[in-house]
């Protein structure tokens, strides 16, 4: 069940790097209680859009709001309500997993006892307890990804934004994350995730937005997207490739035969 007020909202968002328009008048909303999937080919503008939402990039124009707060005018309040998991988990190499979570807890003003308790819970949940006292530079990619997610969850944010969260995770961990995200949405949080794995988007997400070359070309539930696609396109893959012009990739398959 979704809340009426969008917890993530972009209105005519534009982000350009000199002459290059990375995000071109993108508008969408994500409501509390739903998981919004953000799909697009490589270089479409997904990561740029996500970075403007979490405050890592300043929009060139347009409005971005998180939990009702404008990320440009009230950045601190907006960030206080959101958690972010990047696609590349660059963590502090010389902090242990435990220290990293405690640090994030302190950064967000959590009570130290509460932060410690929550950290231990998350470490246990993600199977990082054994490695919790080792520095993160000794972690595998999957472990870093899990540590990054744990850091975002340490204070149970109302808005969670994830960029390719399941890359590098084993099936058990990937399933765990899906269940977690579903639980968060169930508790009223707004979850936005970008992914290349269309099965995840199809099975997990309540609504999906498809971005291509900086423009949001489609947005809605699976049924709504099917109505946009051509006749016979029932899977998200078909719809996605149809909308983003993936037919030319069939030529590559021919060459490889």
């Amino acid at each position: 069940m979704t809340d009426a007020t969008p917890l993530i909202e972009t209105i005519d968002l534009v982000k350009s790097y000199g002459d290059k328009l990375a995000v071109d008048h993108v508008s969408f909303q994500v409501y509390g209680g739903e998981i919004f999937g953000f799909l697009g080919p490589n270089g479409a503008g997904k990561t740029t859009t996500i970075k403007t939402i979490v405050g890592l990039l300043r929009p060139t124009s347009g409005i971005v709001k998180v939990a009702g707060y404008d990320v440009v005018l009230e950045p601190v309040l907006a960030k206080a309500h959101s958690g972010y998991v990047p696609d590349e988990p660059n963590l502090y190499a010389k902090l242990t997993g435990r220290e990293l979570l405690r640090f994030v807890g302190d950064l967000y003003g959590l009570d130290s006892k509460q932060a410690a308790h929550r950290s231990e819970e998350l470490l246990r949940l993600f199977g990082l307890t054994e490695a919790a006292d080792e520095t993160t530079d000794s972690y595998s990619h999957g472990m870093k990804q899990k540590a990054s997610l744990a850091a975002a969850l340490v204070r149970d944010p109302k808005v969670l934004v994830l960029d390719e969260p399941t890359v590098g995770l084993d099936p058990k961990s990937a399933r765990l994350i899906k269940d977690l995200l579903r639980q968060m949405a169930g508790r009223g949080a707004a979850v936005m995730l970008s992914t290349h794995i269309l099965e995840i988007a199809q099975n997990m997400c309540d609504r999906i937005g498809i971005i291509n070359q900086g423009k949001l070309i489609a947005s809605g539930t699976m049924d709504e997207l099917r109505s946009l696609g051509q006749e016979g396109e029932s899977s998200l893959e078909d719809i996605f490739l149809g909308l983003t012009g993936g037919a030319e990739f069939a030529e590559i398959a021919e060459v490889l035969k």
């Binding site: 660059n90 640090f103 994030v104 302190d106 950064l107 967000y108 130290s112």
Partner: protein
């Protein structure tokens, strides 16, 4: 696709080695082509200078070696016959070269085998694994071999020319150097693999870099206090003449070369064949063993073992943290505390940072020793300076310990504050996505730069003052001056660190240049200016017979105001810059 595979021929080992080395040459050429013009010119100039240096060493060694064998020199120097030393010279130089390569190729092989990131790609390619190891050994040896060759080869050739050695001597010198270098690299690779078995490769590289760098820097600074006596020199010379143990293969090579040069073919060839055979054997065994250790994963075992987690009581740890003094909790907000503690922890653990902080400490100790030796007396000149100049110098010298402390503090602050933001590196996203006001972040980074510097400099100042026998007032005044000037410096360097912040680095050395030319100039200029504001009033007032302490208090007021302004104003200006950090 199948047709392509049908035509595949397994490459030979040496063909594969050649391909891999050619790849490295292509990479080097590409790096050169893509470099800035200034760097290209610099590289060419460096190579030309190396060639000129090679020629100079060759000519110099020929001349020197001929000269020390003349009867006139032997009689004048009263050091006896040098024949023994000259006969042992090849052995000594080959030993130095071999040991040097053994030690230096360790870090290069560590990088090449574990940290360069290309081993997985190469090992999965359809080329013999041995060819990968041979090419890695050659890559490890080559730079250090070229450097040692720059010094050793011309000296050995010079020896041959000055002693009229046989022409075969020269190519055999080259062959011997190459064979010994490869054997040393082979042994070094075994050491690398053994080290990697017990410690993470990255950690070994960090510790090695830190220890070696600190050792050489400390030695170079301490050398200024060393005085070599004539007896010590004679003893060293005598030892060098006899330092060639019979059982050492390096002695066999050295002696073999000398015999060949002198035309004693049988002993010469015998010794050389024996030594080089042994050397090649060592290289082969080391190569095969290293390859096996790497391929079987023996040396990677430590990466798959985790220490059993000690049962930690999270609640216990949290309650320990929550008993931090309440006044600290009230005075310093949690996010500021978190960032300060995090940064101090990272500085302590990352030895790449530690080496940048240890260097100023070494310099501080060296200069402190030099200063204390002067016993508060200004260096005696020729007595031609005006009296007033001498009086000013004497007054300034009274504050010499403050100046030294500030010099130490300046170096520390430039690193801690100047690189405070850049240190975040690619992890900066965690700070940027957190709900922090710019002033919170600036406050935290200011404390990271200021507090450790103040602690170290305060202690340093205290020790100097106690050793000088200063009064309590003098100690307190000096500490106040140091504390205030350091605050000003921290603000300035932090400002330039913010404006020039670099986050996209993998190697901490890439942070160099954060502060920029202007930042360095301002930092260097502001230090003597602030120092002058503190000590100037006291010196000037002394000429008007005003009590010294009044002058010192006036200096404290003037300098203190200037220091606080220097520290706070730039940081206020940097607020808006902090909000936009790391945004394209």
């Amino acid at each position: 696709m199948t047709a392509l595979l049908n035509g595949f021929r397994q490459p030979g080992m040496w063909a594969s080695v050649w391909k891999l080395l050619r790849l490295q040459v292509a990479i080097s050429i590409n790096n050169f082509k893509r470099a800035k013009t200034s760097r290209k010119v610099g590289t060419i100039v460096l190579w030309l200078m190396a060639l000129i240096f090679l020629g100079f060493v060759l000519w110099g060694s020929i001349a020197l070696l001929r000269f020390i064998q003349t009867p006139e020199f032997i009689e004048a120097a009263e050091m006896g016959d040098f024949t023994g030393l000259l006969d042992n010279l090849p052995t000594l130089l080959l030993t130095a070269s071999t040991l040097g390569i053994l030690l230096t190729s360790f870090s290069v092989l560590l990088q090449g085998l574990y940290l360069s990131g290309d081993m997985d790609f190469l090992m999965s390619a359809p080329i013999p694994i041995r060819s990968i190891f041979i090419s890695k050994l050659i890559q490890a040896v080559l730079p250090n071999f070229l450097i040692s060759g720059l010094f050793i080869l011309p000296v050995l050739f010079g020896l041959g020319i000055s002693a009229n050695y046989n022409f075969l001597y020269y190519p055999l010198v080259l062959v011997s150097l190459i064979a010994l270098a490869l054997a040393a690299a082979g042994l070094s690779s075994l050491l690398v693999l053994v080290a990697a078995r017990f410690f993470p490769a990255r950690r070994v590289a960090e510790v090695l870099g830190f220890v070696v760098g600190t050792f050489f820097f400390a030695s170079s600074q301490m050398a200024r206090f060393m005085e070599v006596e004539e007896e010590q020199f004679d003893a060293a010379l005598s030892m060098a003449s006899r330092a060639a143990p019979v059982w050492s293969p390096l002695t066999w090579v050295g002696d073999g070369l000398v015999h060949i040069g002198q035309g004693n073919w049988l002993p010469g060839l015998g010794l050389l064949v024996l030594a080089l055979g042994l050397t090649c054997g060592i290289f082969y065994i080391a190569l095969v063993t290293a390859e096996r250790m790497y391929y079987t994963g023996w040396s990677s075992l430590q990466n798959n073992r985790r220490k059993k987690a000690r049962p930690t009581n999270g609640a216990k740890a949290a309650s320990a943290r929550s008993t931090q003094p309440n006044f600290i909790a009230r005075l310093v907000p949690a996010p500021v505390r978190a960032i300060v503690l995090k940064d101090l922890l990272l500085y302590r653990r990352d030895l790449r940072n530690a080496s940048q902080l240890v260097t100023p400490l070494i310099l501080g100790v060296v200069y402190a020793v030099g200063f204390l030796r002067t016993d508060n007396q200004i260096p005696m000149g020729r007595g031609e300076a005006p009296v007033i100049f001498e009086q000013i110098m004497e007054s300034l010298f009274l504050y010499g310990d403050v100046a030294l402390t500030l010099f130490l503090g300046w170096m520390l602050v430039a690193n801690l504050a100047g690189l405070g933001f850049s240190q975040e590196g690619k992890s900066y996203w965690m700070i940027k996505s957190a709900p922090l006001h710019p002033r919170t972040l600036i406050t935290a980074k200011f404390l990271v730069g200021y507090l450790p510097t103040l602690a170290v400099c305060g202690l340093y100042m205290l020790v100097l003052q106690i050793l000088k026998g200063s009064s309590l007032f003098s100690i307190l005044l000096s500490l106040a001056i140091v504390a205030l000037i350091l605050a000003g410096l921290t603000g300035i360097y932090l400002f330039f660190g913010i404006t020039g912040a670099k986050f996209d680095w993998d190697n901490p050395q890439k942070m160099n240049g954060t502060i920029g030319c202007l930042g360095n100039i301002v930092g260097m200029a502001i230090l003597p200016l602030l120092f002058g504001l503190y000590v100037g009033p006291a010196i000037v007032m002394a000429f008007f017979d005003v009590p010294v302490f009044l002058g010192q208090l006036a200096g404290l007021l003037l300098g203190g105001t200037a220091s606080l302004a220097a520290g706070l104003i730039p940081l206020r200006l940097a607020h808006s810059r902090v909000e936009r950090l790391n945004e394209a």
